[in-house]
């Protein structure tokens, strides 16, 4: 092997040691700079190739996702990550994993992302949805909460509202109605005062069975636009459910006179059940439904015998209801009477069973109340009115139980009976 050529000439090394060191320093600097420039050029060339490859794979991954090929998307996006390791690509990959049904991997991926960004609202939301798929409700609810209070890019208030709505629907699905209501109330309280939101929240409250809050939301919509068709119709329905028949009648009648509103699709309303009833029906059927409901409300006003009514009106309504209830009872007993012709009802009871006993008991009560069934008696005796009223309720309830579903006025009286049992 030949001896190494010294960097510094030997003669120079002996004569000028300081110059020698300087020359060594300069030589090494020059070498470093030259090598740095070469490396930089190589690196830039390499990076541009990597970037191009990364973008190609990301685009391929997105295309595969849109084509419902999540497994291919996962492969492409994994490859993209080796060339461009950034958060958007990682999120894309995690979403592809979730779409491919690889829930456990997707969860682990999002958990890893969340570890580095624990306050990210989007990541927590994705985790919540994955936990829902994995039937882990406590973790899902926790993640929803973290998402609501997390950081969001863009319109954070809108995103948080959307998450609250999603959470409330999930809570309702889990049977946690009170918690669902709380979320809806919070979201409604923070939402802008617009008709669209009022109607949306009304529908959401209805979906969880909170008709009172739903009515409140619909009335808020009507405060902003008293002639809004959706507001009138839904408020009318809600009032009807709550037993406020006068309000229901006026609202539903007003809805029949209003023009249906063509609303642009609001992002929040995508997939919402708010307008399920309305949107599911064609306009003609919808209109007929409202008309029927209004007619029922009107008839209920006529049949109502609550204590809120003036005395004379109540008496008249009670007498009318009595006639309807007795006719119902007679019709209910008729099959038994015809089959046991010639026998006393009591003997018929002994031979037919328990429900006949109940019906016969009602019959006996009507016979006992017969002397009171006149205007003069009822007008003077409030307790008699209460007895008659209860007898009407019991008759309609009993006949519905033993003789099939009530129809017509009997059905309306049954509704009044239900209202009296559920409402204070």
């Amino acid at each position: 092997m030949k001896s190494a050529t010294p960097l510094i000439p030997a003669a120079l090394a002996r004569r000028a040691p300081g110059a020698r060191e300087g020359l060594i320093f300069l030589s090494l600097c020059g070498l470093s700079i030259a090598l740095f420039l070469v490396t930089l050029a190589l690196f830039h060339s390499f990076e541009s190739r990597r970037e191009g490859e990364a973008q190609r794979l990301i685009d391929l991954g997105k295309t595969e996702m849109e084509s419902a090929h999540p497994d291919q998307a996962v492969t492409a996006l994994r490859g993209a990550l080796t060339y461009r390791d950034d958060l958007p690509t990682e999120i894309l990959l995690a979403q592809a994993l979730a779409a491919a049904g690889r829930t456990s991997e997707a969860t682990n991926y999002f958990l890893g992302l969340r570890d580095s960004r624990p306050g990210d609202g989007f990541l927590n939301l994705q985790l919540a949805r994955l936990y829902r798929q994995e039937h882990l409700p406590s973790l899902a609810i926790e993640s929803y909460g973290a998402s609501i209070f997390g950081d969001w890019q863009g319109d954070g208030a809108l995103r948080r509202r959307e998450v609250r709505l999603e959470l409330s629907a999930y809570l309702a699905q889990q049977g946690q109605t009170a918690a669902a209501r709380n979320e809806l109330l919070t979201a409604a309280g923070n939402a802008p005062d617009t008709i669209a939101y009022a109607l949306l929240f009304g529908g959401r409250f209805l979906a969880i069975g909170d008709t009172a809050d739903a009515l409140h939301s619909y009335k808020r919509a009507l405060d902003m636009d008293p002639h809004d068709y959706d507001g009138l119709a839904n408020a009318g329905r809600a009032s009807y459910v709550l037993g406020k028949y006068a309000d229901a009648y006026s609202l539903l009648t007003a809805a029949l006179n209003a023009t249906p509103t063509q609303r642009s699709t609001h992002p929040l309303q995508k997939g919402s059940s708010q307008n399920k009833n309305l949107s599911a029906l064609d306009p003609a059927r919808e209109r007929q439904q409202i008309k029927d409901l209004a007619a029922n409300a009107h008839r209920l006003i006529e049949l109502d015998f609550s204590r809120d009514l003036p005395a004379l009106e109540r008496t008249e309504h009670l007498l009318a209801a009595s006639r309807i209830a007795q006719a119902r009872l007679t019709g209910c007993l008729a099959p038994f009477t015809n089959s046991l012709a010639g026998k006393e009802p009591t003997s018929a009871l002994n031979s037919q069973g328990g429900h006949l006993q109940a019906l016969n008991s009602l019959h006996a009560r009507w016979q006992a109340a017969a002397p009171h069934l006149n205007t003069r008696t009822l007008d003077r005796d409030a307790s008699a009115e209460d007895v008659i009223g209860q007898l009407v309720i019991d008759t309609e309830t009993g006949t519905a139980r033993y003789c099939g579903a009530a129809q017509g006025d009997d059905a309306l009286l049954l509704k009044l009976a239900t209202d009296s049992q559920t409402q204070p």
Binding site: M1, K2, S3, A4, T5, P6, L7, I8, A10, A13, R14, P17, R20, E21, I24, F25, L28, C29, L31, S32, L35, F36, V38, T39, L42, F43, F46, R49, R50, E53, R56, L57, T75, A76, R78, G79, L81, T82, Y83, D85, S104, E105, N108, Y109, L111, G112, D115, S116
Partner: protein
């Protein structure tokens, strides 16, 4: 044979260079630190180029997104293997192996010499091997490339042989630090595995070069490690049991890996020359087959797979399969003589095993188990400690990469268990095993760490020689010595050894006088009878040595002194005992295994 010829020529060449340029030692001192920085910068740049080359080749040969049933997974490593075998045989004969042992050989045998040809060959062939899919890592070759840069620069500027030898680990640390993006781990590994010890002089240079290399590498690649580290945590102290299990698993796996390498490599090397030319290609074909039929993750270094494992992207069965087939693939690639390293495969296997233990724990003890990333990280440290036998480096590597000290307890626990298993069942570390297979006998760093350094206190004995006072007159001294001789003659006391005399001087220091030295002074009594003894002895004093000092440090003094008084550190001049050359030699002899004490 090639190694020995190169060594002989190297020594001659180096000596000639040193004589020719003749840099003064003082100038070398000044240059040493400065050049260390440049070694770090240049080594870092070369390692960046090395990594670029690997990734370019990987993109070209394996494709952007390797997946099972891609034919190029079979073709790329096998065709590259043919090319590598031919080039390595006829152009770059010294490039086989990982690079760590070759650097140690350069240090201990060739006075720090690594040829430029070897460096270039290592760069080209390792990048081709790893880029084509062989299951090897880039760190070990980077270590050798860095050492080669240091050797080249050292030779060019005409450093002395002693400095040139020291430059190899300086360059090695630079190369490894740039490849790993972890300067502390690189420094520790070089100290722990390459040079085995450190002095303040070389440590400063190693640190400077490693830091310079990392600064350069991070300028290009950024500060993030090769794989993303998730949050690591120790959720419950009972989790340490799980990490203990990981230590057991890792220790067993490292044993399996070492046994496989230890068996296959000599088998392949015993084959005829024409068969050895085909071995890299066959290894490439088999590794490619593993990738083709379902596990392309085992090909190449595997950092992206480590990243995926850390983020829980694999189920338990896949993790175990990956660990097993990575052991097989790396054994094939390395044993066939394909140049490339074992760091990355070791980390890969450790990460898979660690994550699998974590997944298992999560299934049965979900409330006790922390993140899978913690297990993967500790697993990497475990294999590093047990297989590469670098326990200190493995602990700091995990800490450096994770940046989280809460992981230190599990790391230490798991590493210790794995290391002990590995040592008990595989006494010879893997690097040492490979050097023995190559016919070299390099110092074993592990044995050096285990050696007990002897100290003065291990060899000294009470002072049995006459102790004289330097302030005494010569007449009194002679009278004292006559009394001693008379009592010896009358056998009223045993005779003193004829080693000499110890003289306590007035300055509380000692003088160890030879017998004839004192006798010749006393023979000159006459007009000098009233002078003090120490005035005739002269100004020299025996060196102050203390019981805790290394025994070997006494040897230079016995040329001048017949014995050495060992002093007490707390009380100036107080004697702990005496040490002679005979005592030192006997103590060293008694410390040899099998010797009679």
């Amino acid at each position: 044979m090639e190694t020995q010829n190169a060594a002989t020529q190297t020594i001659a060449g180096t000596q000639a260079d040193a004589n020719a340029t003749g840099i003064a030692p003082a100038a070398e001192e000044r240059l040493f630190l400065l050049i260390s920085i440049f070694i770090g910068i240049i080594g870092g740049l070369l390692v960046v180029c090395f990594r670029i080359a690997i990734e370019w080749l990987s993109l070209l040969l394996q494709g952007p997104a390797p997946a099972p049933h891609h034919v190029r997974l079979l073709l790329a490593p096998s065709i590259a293997g043919i090319f590598i075998a031919i080039i390595a045989r006829y152009v770059f004969p010294m490039v086989r192996g990982s690079g760590v042992n070759q650097t140690k050989a350069a240090l201990y045998i060739h006075n720090g010499y690594i040829s430029s040809r070897t460096m270039i060959g290592k760069f080209l062939l390792s990048s081709l091997a790893i880029g084509s899919g062989h299951s090897l890592g880039p760190e070990d070759p980077s270590l050798q490339i860095g050492a080669g840069v240091a050797s080249l620069i050292g030779r060019r500027i005409g450093l002395s042989r002693e400095r040139l030898r020291l430059f190899a680990p300086v360059g090695a640390a630079a190369g490894l630090a740039a490849a790993f993006n972890a300067p502390i781990s690189a420094i520790l590994f070089v100290i722990e595995e390459v040079i085995g010890q450190w002095t303040s002089a070389v440590l400063g240079s190693i640190v400077l070069s490693a830091v310079s290399a990392v600064v350069v590498a991070r300028w290009f690649w950024g500060g993030q490690p090769m794989f993303r580290i998730p949050a690591v945590n120790l959720r419950d102290p009972r989790e340490l049991l799980a990490y203990a299990v990981l230590g057991l698993v890792g220790g067993t796996a490292s044993l399996l890996f070492a046994k496989a390498l230890g068996w296959l490599r000599p088998v392949l090397r015993r084959q005829p020359g024409w068969a050895q030319l085909l071995q890299p290609a066959m290894a490439g074909l088999l590794v490619g087959a593993i990738g083709y039929f379902g596990l392309p993750q085992v090909m190449g270094a595997g950092y992206s797979t480590i990243d995926q494992a850390m983020h829980g992207q694999f189920v338990l069965k896949v993790l175990l399969l990956l660990a097993l087939f990575k052991i097989i693939a790396t054994t094939l690639s390395f044993s066939s003589g394909t140049p490339g390293g074992m760091f990355a495969p070791t980390l890969f296997i450790g990460a898979m095993l660690g994550t699998s233990v974590g997944v298992f724990e999560k299934l049965f003890f979900p409330s006790l188990t922390g993140s899978l990333g913690s297990y993967a990280l500790v697993g990497m440290g475990v294999l590093f400690a047990a297989f590469l036998r670098a326990p200190l480096t493995s602990v700091f590597m995990v800490l450096e990469v994770s940046g989280n000290y809460s992981i230190i307890l599990p790391v230490i626990l798991a590493n210790t268990i794995a290391y002990l298993i590995s040592r008990a069942l595989q006494p010879i570390p893997i690097f040492e095993l490979l050097t023995h297979q190559d016919g070299l006998y390099l110092p074993s760093m592990e044995e050096q760490r285990d050696e007990i350094e002897l100290r003065f206190e291990d060899a000294l004995h009470p002072a049995l020689v006459p102790i004289l006072s330097g302030k005494d007159t010569l007449r009194n001294t002679r009278d004292l010595l006559k009394q001693i001789h008379d009592s010896e003659a009358e056998e009223t006391r045993p005779p003193y050894p004829k080693t000499g005399y110890l003289v306590l001087c007035s300055d509380s220091l000692w003088y160890a006088a030879k017998p004839d030295e004192v006798e010749s002074i006393l023979a000159q009594e006459g007009t000098a009878g009233e002078q003090s003894l120490e005035s005739k002895l002269g100004p020299d004093r025996t060196p102050m040595i203390f019981p805790d000092q290394p025994l070997s440090s006494a040897l230079p003094y016995f040329g001048r002194w017949p014995m050495l008084p060992v002093l007490n550190r707390a009380i100036r001049g107080a004697l702990e005992g005496v040490l002679t050359l005979d005592d030192v030699l006997k103590r060293y002899q008694s410390s040899m295994p099998g010797s009679e004490s």
